[in-house]
Symmetry: D3
Subunit: 123 residues, 6 copies
């Protein structure tokens, strides 16, 4: 399950991101949660049939906007682009956030996504 | 925009539900928010191109689980089924809720969906 | 501070409500939190100059909608009416909730307020 | 990991509760999340050294109060009592909830705990 | 509705802020949410009779504290000052946040408001 | 109660932190909330018998993770270390956060704790 999770996590998030997450959490303090994330989140759930990775990415953008976690949101905006979610589709997800989670949640998510886009476009 | 919203809302939620929502909110107290929901949520956002109704329904199940609103969740489980989301796909959405929003959110959402399924199956 | 808090709490919430809250929490388990609520919430904050009770009630309706606590919301809808907030003003507060906290929060709050109104009108 | 989780879950929550949770979720819809809860929550985390079960129960009461999940809170109040948390200690946890999560969260948690106590005392 | 919303938004938030929000969101990605905010939030809700702008600003400070959105909170602290809410009244709102949303919410809101005050006082 | 609270707050948070909090909030705007925090949080609740300071610190780490308040979380990580919570125990608390509050909450809390550890280790 760990290997499957690591493969999917790397495919979605990129090798550079995953390498950094694992190497900076290789000690006793950080390793257990990284193992949990890799195995349970990426292996056991993302590894399931039944929903495409693209759909899973859109669900995450909506949920993480609702949960109000900007750092994770930016990481998952990148992952969503890697999974084939277009910028127009990200806009649609966040417009739906505006209605169901309220304007401040949407405005924050739009701003964070734009920061990711700028970073990508400057490369 | 109101007419477009009313048409989509009725298609997704069913005529019986919408008739009841509007008739029980026909007074000064309830009408403005119903107008807002019909126009802004169902007309202006659900009426947009760019994401299928099926995808929008799945986003709502994820978001409303995160937002912890059981009454609205049950309404949108019914809407999701009407939009072609299968019970297996609802399960996948809520498994993803387990990882990102935590076990209590997922357990609640599974229980509420099961109540909707029972109600439908008993008809 | 306790006496001041008890006086304000009784004026806003009604003697029947406060008597019941105190008598059903007169044991070791419930007394400390009731003392805290009476002294700190009702004495130390509601007892301050600087905002009218009517304004404080409206703030509570908005906050408790955001916090998603239906039981407390209904209690504070009654308190708001006692403090001179009209039903039309409660509607305005919850329309603002719709925009900033999202549609599910607003729909829930409208429904709970309507239940309070019905209960009052049936007396 | 599943067996270890099942053992701990049964020890904390009681055989009647776990049997019911598993039998009412033995179908395709409910089984995956029950497997996840048993393996990941009860096996992988509750099964770890490093914190006593009593401490883990108190953490849950605080977190689930903050997360606003009354159904799960009542389940974990029972579990906490099974793990040796006293009613006085539950009161202390919820007083701390009052300060850090606010009065409505605390009032809700005290009420739900009291319902559990009544149910137990009537047996 | 857009024109009415734009007028109110500019009156409350200031021309510099609104010009920047609109110009940096003039593309396909950002325009729809800005249109929604201007029309629905500022036109359809803020444009209603029934509550003064000053009261609406105070409701926002309370709600956005509860929603935990520091960026939007600072924007609305400025708006509140423009709508005639005094610094003493902002203090009262946030003391009420302390009681109902908890100490961490209040401490964050006080700190963010102070940053806004410093910025204004340095001009 | 204020004196008792000040003594406990200083013992847990350190004299430098408390002096700074009080001196930078000595004006009309900041003083009332500091008085409230010192008296009600630190005097009335932390000053109670019934739970050790170490346990209270762990409850706070769990609750403040759930509440999503990174600034306060870092302050209470320091306080927890002062109260004898080990880094291994902090890890256990945040693994439990992963299960009950979800992965984004846990990942954020681990990152913030690590920043506190680095700051301490560099001294």
């Amino acid at each position: 399950m760990y290997d499957k999770g690591l493969e999917i996590r790397t495919a979605v998030m990129g090798k550079a991101y995953v390498d950094k997450a694992l190497s900076s959490n290789a000690d006793d303090f950080g390793k257990p949660v990284q193992d949990y994330v890799t195995e349970c989140a990426w292996g056991a759930v993302w590894g399931r049939e039944g929903l495409s990775r693209k759909t899973r990415s859109m669900l995450n953008l909506a949920m993480i906007s609702a949960l109000n976690r900007p750092h994770e949101l930016k990481v998952h905006v990148k992952g969503a682009l890697n999974n084939g979610v277009t910028r127009d589709e990200i806009r649609e997800v966040f417009l739906q956030v505006a209605i169901y989670c309220g304007v401040p949640a949407a405005v924050d998510s739009f701003r964070q996504a734009r920061e990711v886009f700028k970073e990508i476009d400057q490369k």
